[in-house]
């Protein structure tokens, strides 16, 4: 039977704005998380926005000349220049008295944490009024899944093939931004659009540099089936592998608290890129999660409810020392 509240009325509930500034017909793969990152972001920013986009999946997703998927102007720019291009656009607008336009640098993780990092660092250090957003699919996906500085430890990519899986942990770009004394930086996840939209809205109101990083699943790159695109990133946050927090003028705050222990293996086991991991190696990844979480709790000034896990996994990992990961001896 049809629920009575649905009969004949416009009763579909929504928790995010309905207005769409991205068209269907775009060129992303089935189940692409990066498309949702863009859609949610524009729902918050609105049409008074200009994008600077370097080489990345999104420069393809948008469509070939003379077509576009976005209802806002987008400048295609060179791979390393998302931030400098955005700084220039913003300076141009400011001179013409149009400083109220949201200028956004929108880049992939490779374009952000590797090749674009010096332009971004300069932009933040100068204090330019730009919102920099990195959609993080944890590898160079557009060119066929090469590892980036944002690829997590242990992951398979085409440049970290068996048995040489990624040896170093993911670069902590938010911490690097905090070290720049940035007014506002935060993490996001496409599985939590309400949280993300709040952060984009907050960033929009702040004059000065802002850095946001949103985790976005990539079925061909992470090697999972397209229908679990949301489930997989949701698990990244519920396992605390990708915590949701913000840092405003140096003050850390969790925007989503986790109370229940969900092992990181729940996130890893859904993806082909982690299929080869042994139990011992997963313990190392769990330890990295615990260390990062403990560090964040200390910075946010709250008690770490998982302190026993940190202790337990430190003991456990000490015992087996996997060769592919460097562990400090004490």
């Amino acid at each position: 039977m049809r629920p009575s509240h649905l009969v004949g009325g416009k009763t579909m509930k929504t928790t995010i704005p309905k207005e769409e500034l991205v068209y269907s017909g775009h060129l992303a793969c089935q189940g692409c998380g990066a498309t949702l990152a863009m859609r949610y972001t524009l729902k918050a920013l609105g049409q008074n926005t200009v994008y600077s986009v370097p080489a990345c999946c999104w420069s393809v997703i948008d469509g070939p000349f003379p077509y576009t998927s976005l209802q806002i102007p987008l400048f295609h720019t060179a791979f390393e220049t998302a931030a400098s291009m955005a700084s220039g656009i913003q300076a141009g607008f400011a001179i013409r008295g149009k400083g109220d336009i949201n200028v956004v640098a929108w880049a992939g993780d490779g374009g952000t944490v590797d090749i674009g990092i010096q332009a971004l660092s300069g932009m933040v250090e100068r204090g330019d009024n730009v919102l920099y957003i990195c959609y993080d699919n944890e590898a160079y996906m557009n060119t066929g899944i090469q590892r980036s500085g944002s690829t997590p430890v242990g992951a398979w990519t085409t440049t970290t093939p068996p048995p040489h899986f990624k040896k170093s942990p993911k670069k902590d770009m938010v911490a690097i931004m905090v070290a720049h004394h940035i007014p506002y930086t935060a993490t996001g996840n496409i599985a939590y659009p309400e949280d993300w939209i709040k952060k984009v809205n907050k960033a929009k109101e702040i004059v000065g540099p802002k850095y946001l990083q949103i985790l976005a699943s990539c079925p061909p790159g992470w090697k999972h089936s397209s229908e679990i695109s949301i489930e997989v990133v949701r698990l990244a946050t519920s396992t605390r592998k990708w915590p949701l927090y913000e840092v405003e003028n140096g003050n850390y705050k969790f925007t989503r608290m986790t109370r229940k222990f969900v092992p990181v293996s729940e996130f890893l086991k859904l993806q082909g890129r982690f299929r080869h991991l042994t139990e011992e190696e997963i313990d190392v990844i769990q330890l990295l999660v615990e260390e990062h979480w403990a560090d964040l709790c200390a910075k946010a000034g709250i008690e770490n409810q998982f302190a026993d896990k940190l202790e337990g996994y430190t003991e456990k990992v000490k015992k087996h020392h996997p060769q592919w990961f460097h562990i400090e001896e004490d």
Binding site: P3, V7, T14, T15, H26, Q30, P66, Y67, S229, E231
Partner: protein, 97 residues
């Protein structure tokens, strides 16, 4: 939806925009042809939560009415809507071409 009406014809330099600006909408590109499996909505089971709409990576679910209506011109058949639906009001079926 008629994708053809969004098409831009460029036969030579005279048709080019004054600068390399994209003027056409990607709505011209009917991605429904990519689909191998097709989502089917069962209105009786829908609880009106709109989660399918919220997470559809192709923005092709309409929720203006009292249950979701999928635009098969653009649906790529990723299966996210059916997977996220809490009441199993969307099922994935074999695509008949």
């Amino acid at each position: 939806m008629m994708a053809e009406k969004y098409e831009i014809k460029i036969s030579g330099a005279k048709d080019m925009p004054p600068m390399a600006a994209s003027l056409g909408k990607m709505l011209v590109n009917k991605t429904g042809s990519w689909r191998n499996i097709r989502p089917l909505v069962i209105p009786e089971k829908c609880n009106g939560c709109s989660l399918c709409w919220k997470f559809c990576p192709d923005f092709c679910i309409n929720i203006d009415g009292d249950y979701p209506i999928i635009n098969y011109d653009y649906c790529k058949g990723c299966g996210v809507c059916a997977h996220e639906c809490p009441t199993e009001a969307i099922v994935m079926e074999e695509e008949i071409k």
